[in-house]
Structures are given as structure tokens and as C-alpha cells.
Amino acid sequence: MPVEIDLSEADGKYVVRVRGEVDLYTSPQLRNAVTKGVPASGHTVAIDLSQVAYMDSSGVATLVEGLRAAAQAQRSFCLVAPSSPVMKVLQLSRLNSVFEIRETV
């Protein structure tokens, strides 16, 4: 299953909506969207993960990379409504508490 990534920006928020499976093959697309978004955003980078059917450690590493970049740029970075597969890999990685998680964008 390919990954689909939609980008939008409104009210100072840069929103990355991800749909599909994030793995070694598809995570570079997510990395590109996230790293492009951090400097472009006004205040907040929001990654909507509600439609993600699968995520591996390369996806988690990409999220960590985005969080670090946002912290350096003094922007907030949050995950929106992570699906169960995303929560599962974050919990197994013991990284769920590192991210701000919101129910909606």
C-alpha cells in the first residue's frame, strides 16, 4: 500500500495528513514533508496520523527528526489522532510520552 501525504497551511498551522503505510520504502516521503514544513510553518506543525495503517521505526525516526527540528526553530510539533498501529510502535519504542498528542488538528 503506498503512502499518500497531503500538505496544507492555515492559521499559522502547517498540517501534514498521512494515509497508508509508512515503512523503509515510503518514509522518505514523510521525511520530505515534515522537514519542509518545519521552517515553513508559522507556529505549529501538526502531523495527522489518523489514517496510517502501518508505521515502522523509520517512520518513528522521521517523527523524532521533525520534533527536534521544530524545537530548534521554536515551533510546536504535535501528532494528531494517531491510529492504533502508530500508537503501538510509539509505545513499543517507549516514545509515546515524548510527543504532544492531540485529538484534532
Binding site: 515502522d56 521505526s57 527528526e65 517507549r94 510520552s97
Partner: protein, 152 residues
């Protein structure tokens, strides 16, 4: 699924990982593991393959990955063999994962740590002639017991 053993050889192409996940899901799910536990195993085998592609084969997509699945005596054994560069010991050593401040998070090598989290036993070994071999084992659930997550 009634089969107990599967032998599979595939190219080290990340585009094939999706198919590997489908096979692992069908195999492990057919052995009586809960859906949640099955998805953990799917993730861990995917991580093993990704690790071989990234580090043993350094991104080459035309090298062989050999996967063996067996279930016997209440034990499921999954073996992945590659013919790539030997993995450095420090890359496959188990680390303690714990919640940390983001500045201290080390995402590198996370996939290997997930394998340790999911399986009851993981052994990284040199390949018989060259490359690497990783043996991943987990206990099969007893009838009706519905093996649950082991990382809680």
C-alpha cells in the same frame, strides 16, 4: 493455515516489505496468536528485513534475503539470512528503552530494539559462509490462552 514451515527468498528491495508483512500476518495469525500480538510480530520481522537492507546491504535492492518460518514444539522460529556486510556488534546489542527527553532520544537502531521488545528470544549471528543470520523465537499460545503482549 495448516502449514508449519515456509522458505522464502526475496530481493532486498524495500518495495517488497509490504508483501513480507502480508505473509507474516497470515502465518503468525494462523498459529493462534491474537491480532495485537500478530501485528507486533509483523512489525518486528519487517524491522529485521529493513535492518538487513539498510545495514548489511547498505541500500542495495538486488541482494537475497532468505526467510525461514517454522513452528514446532510450541515454539515459532523465524530466521532471516543475508549475504551482506557483517553487522557491528554494537548495532545489534540490546539497549534499555525508556521515556526520555527528546534531546536524548536515539532513533538510530530503534528497529533492532523493537525486535528485542517483541520476540521472546533474538540472536544475531554471523552467517554460515558470509553475511548475517538473525534467529527470532517466540512461544506459541496454548489453545484458548491467546498469547498477549509481552512488553507491558
Amino acid at each position: 493455515m495448516s502449514v508449519r514451515g515456509i522458505r522464502l527468498v526475496l530481493d532486498s528491495d524495500p518495495r517488497l516489505l509490504c508483501s513480507v508483512r502480508g505473509l507474516v500476518r497470515a502465518y503468525v495469525g494462523g498459529l493462534g496468536f491474537s491480532p495485537e500480538r500478530t501485528e507486533e510480530v509483523v512489525l518486528a520481522v519487517d524491522e529485521a528485513c529493513s535492518n538487513a537492507i539498510r545495514h548489511s546491504y547498505q541500500g542495495r535492492i538486488d541482494r537475497p534475503l532468505r526467510l525461514h518460518f517454522d513452528a514446532h514444539d510450541g515454539l515459532v522460529e523465524i530466521v532471516l539470512r543475508d549475504e551482506g556486510k557483517p553487522l557491528r556488534k554494537e548495532r545489534v546489542t540490546r539497549r534499555r528503552l525508556k521515556p526520555e527527553k527528546v534531546a536524548r532520544v536515539r532513533p538510530g537502531g530503534l528497529g533492532v530494539q523493537l525486535m528485542y521488545q517483541v520476540f521472546d528470544d533474538v540472536e544475531f549471528q554471523p552467517g554460515l559462509h558470509r553475511g548475517n543470520q538473525v534467529v527470532m523465537r517466540l512461544r506459541q499460545p496454548r489453545c484458548g490462552a491467546g498469547r498477549q503482549t509481552r512488553h507491558a
